[in-house]
């Protein structure tokens, strides 16, 4: 009974002190990250909102493949350093031929080659690219710039065909979602 009584007696006093809250709002300036740095971070973050089929590749590292010219460089290596996807360590593979055993494939190259690769991609591969017609070619996620901010759009059918489950949270963040 006693602590309760003290609590009730102290309520008005505490209320009067309410206005004295002197805590400052965090006004840290937005970090000016480069576009490629942001994208590199997004690549990793996509893995957090996508569910891969469990039947394959559980005994080897998660292969993050970059096909074509690598726009990230060492930044990507730093970002994925020590990170895991579903308990699997991440291995970055820069590739120039296809097919390769990949879980996430970032494509950076001419459209006809990209289209060729996409045709020969099996299930369980999350395809990502900057290319403007990427989704129409059968890609799953495409980066774009919106008001100088990196955004993305998603092709759900392609994801379904690739047996990947994309989190609704990711879908809700997408600039556009193709059915």
């Amino acid at each position: 009974m006693a602590p309760l009584t003290i609590f009730l007696a102290a309520l008005p006093l505490v209320l009067s002190l309410f206005a004295l809250d002197m805590q400052k709002e965090a006004t840290t300036a937005a970090e000016s990250l480069s576009e490629s740095e942001v994208k590199a971070a997004f690549l990793l973050n996509f893995t957090r909102f996508v569910e891969w089929p469990t039947t394959r590749g559980a005994d080897r590292p998660f292969h993050l493949c970059i096909w074509g010219e690598d726009p990230f460089g060492q930044v990507l290596d730093q970002i994925v350093q020590g990170e895991r996807v579903s308990g699997r360590p991440i291995a970055i593979r820069r590739i120039h031929a296809w097919p390769e055993p990949c879980d996430l494939l970032f494509l950076n190259g001419p459209d006809h080659q990209v289209a060729e690769i996409l045709k020969n991609t099996g299930p369980g591969v999350l395809t990502i690219s900057d290319a403007p017609g990427f989704l129409r070619l059968g890609g799953i996620i495409r980066f774009l710039l919106d008001n100088r901010r990196v955004r993305f759009e998603i092709n759900r059918r392609a994801a379904d065909q690739a047996s990947l489950r994309i989190s609704s949270r990711l879908l809700s963040l997408a600039k556009a979602v193709l059915p």
Partner: protein, 503 residues
């Protein structure tokens, strides 16, 4: 005297029905107040804890919903997510921080001016009248930001106020109902006590110890009434005993006073008798010796001159001897009469006409009256309950004296009359005789005291007899005289003698 003592005194002196009302209302009020206070306090505490849990859940859900926005640097989406908090009107502020410490997105209730509190640790604190719930947001065990919610506790205060008003209303209503009921309770509890108090008061005021309380119940008040009645029984019987004892004592005192006065009278009588006896012995030895001596002397002379036979002398001596014996006899008769008055205590039962008494005396003294041509006028005299012989003796002595001590050459004239005043009959026997000198007016009533020598014969006992008789009947006798112009003897007798009363 402290305030507390004064309050205690005032409470103690309150009438019982107000004490009862005060007790009932105070008990009810206190019980309800404590119960209400307890309920409100417990409810506030429970609600406080509920809010704390609810808020920590809320901050976790919102934090989870913001994960994607943080991960993909979409502050607009985060702001939208936070905007859903509008539904919770008590959320003042929601601040989402990026892991870099930068404020990523926030929600502010329009009336909330506060700046965002920092903090990304998982905790819910009560601070400045509000809950501040903060939670770190992690993606794959990696912190990517933090959410801080400020939740005002108006809700609790509203609840406390609402419950407080309810309890207060219930309190007032109960007190009012209790007050209404208390008059009934008062009739039930206080009135038998007040009745007893009234009975006790009326008993002490009227001193009527026959008043009894009527026991209406078998509770403590009933047994109090019974105890009061038993006490009244005791007091009543003791009062009666006391009254009886007082009466007995009064009677005893009256008897004692009566006995005392009897004793005093006897003592006075005894003293008087004693004095008379002494004087009598002295006088008797003197007065009785004188005629005896004379008789002896003349008898010796007669014997001595027996041879000479001088008959003249012998006759003279014999005459003297006879005179001596007569005087001796007169003396003895008077002494006898005197002692008889002293001795007799018989109560008179006859009514004596004093007119008749005077007539009888007149007859006795006829010879002497005629001899000196005395005139005796007697007014109407009352009838008295007395001894006739004593009345005769009284009047005879006084009338005899009136005739005896007459002025030479003047026929005695005697008036006898009576009147009554102040409970006494006063009798006057007035003569025109020689009168008495003032110096002797007391002495004449003493036995054997005589003012005159042998020229006027007398025994000196007559007036003493008169005084004794009058005093025996409760009166007194005295004389007024104008020497040379006559004497008036006065005596009184109580008027009670005329009726049924006795001496």
């Amino acid at each position: 005297m402290s305030l507390r003592d004064r309050i205690a005194t005032r409470l103690r002196d309150l009438p019982i029905r107000r004490k009862l009302r005060f007790t009932i209302v105070a008990t009810t009020g206190l019980a309800l107040f404590l119960a209400g206070f307890g309920i409100v306090a417990a409810d506030a505490l429970l609600f406080f804890n509920f809010l704390r849990r609810d808020l920590s859940t809320l901050v976790q859900i919102i934090g989870d919903n913001c994960k994607g926005a943080l991960a993909f640097d979409d502050s607009k989406a985060a702001a939208e997510t936070l905007g859903a908090l509008r539904a919770r009107s008590h959320v003042q502020l929601a601040c989402l921080y990026h892991s870099s410490g930068r404020l990523f997105a926030s929600y502010r209730r329009p009336d909330a001016p506060q700046v965002c509190p920092t903090g990304t640790r998982d905790r819910t604190v009560f601070q400045d009248g509000a809950f501040i719930a903060s939670r770190s947001i992690e993606l794959e065990d990696k912190p990517i930001g933090g959410l801080v919610l400020v939740y005002e506790l108006d809700e609790i205060y509203e609840r406390i106020a609402m419950h407080g008003i309810t309890v207060l209303a219930a309190l007032l209503l109960s007190c009012w109902i209790t007050l209404m009921l208390s008059s009934r309770l008062r009739r039930w509890l206080a009135e038998p006590i007040l009745e007893l108090a009234g009975i006790a008061r009326s008993v002490s005021q009227s001193e009527d110890y026959s008043i009894r309380a009527v026991p209406r119940s078998t509770d403590e008040v009933g047994s109090l009434a019974e105890a009061l009645n038993q006490m009244m029984d005791g007091i009543q019987s003791r009062d009666a005993e006391l009254r009886k004892a007082l009466e007995d004592q009064r009677d005893a005192l009256a008897q004692l006073a009566h006995a005392n006065s009897d004793l005093k009278r006897s003592n006075d009588d005894l003293a008087l008798s004693n004095k008379d006896l002494e004087r009598f012995a002295f006088m008797a030895s003197h007065d009785l010796q004188e005629p005896l001596r004379m008789i002896t002397s003349y008898t010796q002379l007669l014997l001595r001159e027996r041879q000479t036979v001088n008959s003249d002398h012998a006759a003279d001596y014999a005459t003297q001897i006879v005179g001596g014996t007569r005087r001796m006899r007169a003396l003895l008769t008077d002494v006898l009469a005197y002692t008889e008055v002293a001795g007799s205590v018989r109560q008179p039962t006859e009514l004596v006409s004093l007119d008749g008494v005077v007539q009888k005396v007149r007859n006795t003294l006829r010879e002497r009256i005629e001899e000196c041509h005395a005139e005796i006028n007697a007014g109407p005299l009352p009838l008295l309950q007395a001894h006739e012989s004593r009345m005769i003796s009284l009047f005879q002595n006084l009338l005899e004296n009136a005739i005896k001590y007459r002025r030479p050459g003047l026929p005695p004239s005697v008036r006898v009359f009576s009147f009554s005043h102040d409970g006494f009959f006063e009798f006057n026997i007035a003569d025109n005789g020689i009168g008495i000198e003032p110096a002797y007016r007391e002495r004449i009533f003493i036995a054997f005291e005589r003012l005159h020598g042998k020229e006027i014969p007398g025994t000196g006992i007559g007036l003493a007899i008169c005084q004794r008789i009058v005093e025996r009947y409760g009166g007194r006798i005295w004389v007024e005289s104008d020497p040379g112009a006559g004497s008036t003897f006065h005596f009184t007798l109580p008027t009670s003698m005329s009726g049924e009363s006795v001496v």
